[in-house]
Symmetry: C2
Subunit: 471 residues, 2 copies
């Protein structure tokens, strides 16, 4: 940034303009931290008052966001972006997902715009070699007995122990014996819903929300009520409070941190409010925690499990943060623990001990954390690159600005139908996830989920631009 000469009361406007330009031209991305006040004073040779004045102006314009004791950050350029024009809350009801959507859902977990793209040569690996080695070692060590006997239904103790430890770092009071290993997060969600609901009960979900949850609700004969979400702050707690007044909501399924498809993150104050609502209305919270470790913000994000443990069933897995092949998930619900264990036992009997052992070793060696640091950094860069591509090539559209996770939510022109777009793109090997999959109410026709889980190689950039021709 060039210097701004100190010329009376206009100086702060000049400084503000420069920062505004930097943001609007995409040099700084939403979530980036603005240089410190001290740094701006020095680099622009202005007084402390001028810098603060400029930042206040930008704050009023909602371009920057002040965070106590942390400084100023670039805000989302569309802070009022709602995923749709505030869908009306519809009363709880049973529903059917039609076959076309079911079919799309089956292919929807891909999280890659162009799955046939080559892995970048010599580039970063998706998983470190050390994972392979840890699994191989566990396979060789665990010889005879694991084949002759089933694992304990809870799963391997050491792995449950390191998972509990990680949750303690996040503020939970979890111990190994609270953890029940599952075959991935979807299986965890199934057990969680079965443990706290019966067919015909009402369950609230985020809208737009994860389609795997919607499929489970349908299969279990549960009534659904969709609640609107903000692209930045997630579930609208006012809408939830209101719904709780009107309907007997047995459980809420929510991803407080980096929900798919929005990438939204529920702020601290809203988490406290949610805990209070759950307590008052005796509602269970099924907390989808799968993206928790994939954030690049370091704001406090206590899991709901730490705030109101008796009303939470936390579900997670390593599928998004490390590997989709391991099939290692877990479910933790202190108030329904024995029920969860029973359901795990009768649905799949037990897990794969050598994979659980290998993963425990991998975490304990520190390799998992090294992988996470590298991977979240890479995701952050890929997200920024995607935002730049969208700003540049689709300036008329809107998109969310996630602080973590693997995807963002993209709203196209009003007359585009993303389900047709999906079918056309698929013929060319391009996979988008149409908005209609994230609702049971036929909303979000002009929206879609876009992944930034993979590097923006030439092939993927081309695929993104190709979409234009079918819109």
């Amino acid at each position: 940034m060039p210097q701004v000469k100190d010329q009376g009361h206009y100086r702060y406007r000049q400084l503000a303009k420069q920062i505004r330009d930097d943001i609007q031209q995409g040099r700084w991305q939403p979530g980036d931290q603005i240089p410190s006040v001290r740094h701006l004073m020095a680099s622009h040779q202005v007084s402390r008052a001028t810098v603060l004045h400029a930042l206040q102006l930008l704050e009023q314009e909602a371009l920057v966001l002040a965070r106590p004791r942390r400084g100023y950050f670039v805000n989302s350029p569309v802070p009022e972006f709602h995923p749709s024009a505030s869908p009306p809350v519809v009363a709880p009801r049973l529903f059917d997902i039609d076959d076309v959507v079911q079919d799309v859902m089956r292919h929807g977990a891909v999280f890659d715009l162009y799955p046939q793209a080559a892995m970048p040569e010599g580039g970063d690996k998706w998983v470190p070699d050390t994972l392979q080695r840890a699994l191989g070692r566990a396979l060789r060590q665990q010889k005879e007995r694991i084949h002759a006997y089933y694992d304990e239904p809870e799963g391997h103790y050491e792995l449950r122990d390191v998972i509990a430890q990680r949750l303690r770092y996040q503020g939970c009071q979890t111990v190994a014996d609270d953890v029940v290993m599952t075959q991935g997060c979807q299986h965890a969600l199934l057990l969680a819903l079965q443990s706290c609901t019966q067919a015909g009960d009402t369950v609230a979900v985020e809208s737009p929300g994860y389609f795997g949850t919607l499929q489970l609700l349908q299969a279990l004969g549960l009534r659904v009520i969709e609640l609107p979400c903000h692209a930045d702050t997630g579930l609208d707690m006012d809408a939830l409070a209101d719904a709780l007044q009107h309907w007997p909501i047995k459980a809420l399924v929510i991803s407080p941190s980096y929900a798919t498809p929005l990438g939204s993150c529920v702020p601290l104050s809203a988490r406290y409010r949610l805990a209070e609502l759950a307590r008052r209305h005796e509602m269970m919270i099924v907390e989808d925690h799968i993206y928790m470790e994939l954030g690049w913000s370091d704001e406090p994000r206590p899991p709901m499990l730490s705030l109101v443990p008796e009303r939470v069933i936390l579900c997670s897995s390593f599928s998004k943060s490390l590997s989709r092949a391991l099939r290692l998930g877990w479910v933790i619900g202190p108030s329904v623990h024995s029920h969860l264990l029973h359901l795990k036992h009768i649905t799949v009997l037990s897990g794969n001990r050598f994979i659980e052992q290998g993963m425990a070793d991998f975490i304990q060696s520190g390799e998992y954390d090294r992988h996470l640091r590298r991977f979240t950094h890479q995701l952050h860069l890929q997200k920024n690159a995607l935002l730049r591509l969208l700003h540049q090539h689709y300036p008329e559209t809107q998109f969310s600005h996630p602080q973590g996770g693997l995807c963002l939510w993209w709203r196209l022109e009003r007359n585009v139908d993303t389900l047709s777009l999906y079918h056309q793109a698929r013929q060319h090997g391009i996979v988008i996830t149409p908005g209609i999959m994230f609702t049971t109410q036929a909303l979000y026709h002009q929206c879609l989920r876009l992944s930034f889980a993979h590097p923006w190689t030439l092939e993927r950039r081309r695929a993104l631009l190709q979409l234009k021709q079918w819109m």
Copy 2:
């Protein structure tokens, strides 16, 4: 056998007596083939008529069994042994499994009388080293992509292909695309039941029958009707036909080959009758096929899937025949295929591709069949050893004489309660499976399931004899 001199019409009685003694003193075990007529003529220097006469006598005494074109076999010494005194058929009903039984069930999958016994030094291995190597190779080969993408919900093509091939050898018309991989057989049973029933429907089961099925029926809110079984020939088809006249039975869960706990095997003619009943009454057959490859009889045992494919959902896994750690099962239901696939997808999303690849390689190399031959031979010897031990030390009790599988059914004196026996034995590390677990009707108190899956080392023989003191 010493020679019998040909002395007029008494000779056949003498020959019969010798064979009878051999059987009753345990030198020949139920299921063993009697030497051929030609061989008996030569070894005893008697005429063909004398041999046939002797065998006819033994057949009338139900000590031997003639099988067309195959010869004579030792019959069960208690051919009329019913698992209990013919329990009355009780109308379909919802049921609860009490907590004590639930707890026993959780530990019931062990299939080892004395799990803390050391693996025999230098003895046969439970799994061949080649399995380990095949898995290790698959792990190294399948590098990046398997971690970055979910497997197809159906599972790995090559493995589905070899599974279909094996079923074709058994007479089914299965192709790879009919097969849906699951996380073991319990998971397959869950999907099968979900695909053809709804809460409140009536499902028939074998009595005594596999407790994992009973747990699933309870969890899914299904009504159960228990049908009596013969220790040798399995489900009583007359009882089934009668029940179908009276109640709307939506599905039957049955293990036609080597059912747990009886080890019974449904004869060919009864299989045809079952197919006909299923067709006429539009009843689905959930065929638990898990012990199919663990038989040592070579009578034709066509899976129900080969006889009435449109009404069968076949469930199986490698857990009993190879390894409990792989968590590889499958479900095949041609008439409900897409429903099964959908349920697999929403319950666990996908499977572990490198384990599936490793297993496919292991089968294709011929190693799995080599393992099966060795393992079933070993099981046959262990079963015979167990029968000898029981004959010798518990002569007053009755037991089934399985032709395959991993266990037999043991009926103790009338005043013994095997649930108390279970609790007492467990304190000493001995695990039996009390009869009450195999019913919802509080039957079989004096019965238990006894495993012969492990070698009768000194420790296990001692454990078996120790049971006496708590009876």
